[in-house]
Amino acid sequence: MKKQVWATVAGAVALACLSSQAMAQSRDLNIVSWGGAYQDGQKEVFFKPFNATGIKLTDEAWDGGLGVLRTKIKGGNSTWDVVQVEADELEVGCDEGLYEKLDVNKIGGAARYLPGTVHACGVGAIIYNLVLAYDGDKLKAAPNGWTDFFDTKKIAGKRSIRNGAKWNLEVALIADGVSAKDVYKVLRTPEGVERAFKKLDTIKGDLVFWKSGAQPPQMLAAGDVVMTTAYNGRITAANEKDKKNFKMVWKDTPYTMDSWVIMKGTPLKANAEKLVEFLGRPENQAKLPKYVRYGVTAVAATPLIDKSLMGELPTNPEIHKQAFAEDVKFWIDNGDKLAERWTKWAGTK
């Protein structure tokens, strides 16, 4: 009887291994974005319609960090196919061979997209600002910008910032008196970096960190913080969906572009390219601002966007001239070093 038992067990294990391999091959196409209200909007505009074309699509959320992507590739057997990444993650990741090279003709041709949005490894998805957000019902006097964000005597209460060096060092310097156009020049010097961290130290006791884009509106709603940095689209979505009265300060806010990439070595490359092409169609992109106020990258999409939404779109000229562009090269060169410095700064009292 024992031999039969062993035979059955061995057979079952072998079968299970084989079937798991088969299951691995036949998995669905997977797209990864930033979660929250933004991804809910993307579901309506992109993911569900794409599913309807016959290719099954699952979606996941992540909070950024090149290390996550490096680990996915290094660990192997990654289930991520198409990912939305930030500007510096696009450059560095491309350099390190984390993404597939993109053939622009497979995704609709170069003429479809705004100049500067097509990259060897990725194509632009959205343009957005990191704004200063607060609850208009709880804070009657509008903060005048980053100076007030760092002034706990003038406006008491906790503040929230993203857990990472990017964009926080810039706004710290602006609050310390550096003009937006000089911010990166100052940050390139070691004294500039020190100055930024020192400014952050002045409010460290009142700081709470957020990691995912969905957290700032929640923190404002719960009253956990009085002011927070946030992605503009999430704030507008919270106002519309949850009937909130959150307000934004656009002055001296950084804007940047996120892109879609295809992870290197994905077994579903052909379908991934079809997905990226679908994501770039002007008629699809034009529907996104209704859900989240982000600028889109297809040339023909802009005239299709509802004029009434233009007021809070980052590509609105009135807003655009108050904002400053993120210096991607600075973060490519210094991202790792400053990320490490940040982890240690954030992890200690």
């Binding site: 009887m1 299970a16 291994c17 079937s19 798991s20 391999q21 299951m23 691995a24 998995r27 669905d28 997977n30 979660g35 929250g36 699952t58 996941e60 959320a61 660990g75 192997g76 057997n77 289930t79 990691k211 995912s212 969905a214 957290q215 929640q218 709603a221 949850d242």
Partner: protein, 268 residues
Amino acid sequence: MKPIKFPWKPLYWFLCACVLVFLLAPIAAIIPLSFSSGSFLTYPLPGLSLRWYQEVLGGGKWLTALGNSLFVGAFATMLSVLLGTLASLGLMRNKAWWSEALKLVALSPMIVPVILIAVASYFFLAPLSLTSTYLGLIIAHTVIAVPFVVVPVLTALELLDPNLARAAAACGAVPRVTFMRVTLPSIMPAMASGALFAFAASFDDVVIALLIAGPDQRTLPREMFSGLRDSMTPALTAVATIMIVFSTTLFLLMQMLQRRTRKAMKPA
């Protein structure tokens, strides 16, 4: 047993009551929130409604996650009961040094912090293409669940009166029959309680699922973890309430089983 005299007896009772309230209040507190008609997790409730239960049970990610948890839990439990019972039979009443060592190995997943088991499994299973698969998750859950089977089953086996087996042999039963008709029924309650503990261990795991499960295998606790971080709606409290009801049922089953075991173990 006569109560021990204490000068501050009422204060002592009050303190104990406070501790018990501390233990139970938070769990009780979130149950009503799941019936709230509003979208925020604050009292007083704006009104009562079942909308969150409809959202959770009406299909979608929560139901899939529940299905995943039950599927993985069932298989992990079956595998751990099988492996654990066989091993307990081999370990019972064995004084050899290697038996003690193997017992330690069998119980060590309870000692090692689960984050290390999760990370180690991730590094090990990824090259084998077993991450983001049901099989990989079942394997990893079995590793942490097996000790929960070994402890009660081994204890039950060692408490078993050896004379029963000898009597059966004296009546002419071959070892296999003795096992099937004497030993196995006696350790059934222990196996069942081990199975319940094992299932609870698999069902409740978050860390391993965080590291190993792919988007298709997301279990209920994994989904709750994301929910707690990203979007806290009363849907979470609805899921929590369902899980509370579930674990309370398991627990009451456990209590009944333990009472039966105690009765079975009473000397004749």
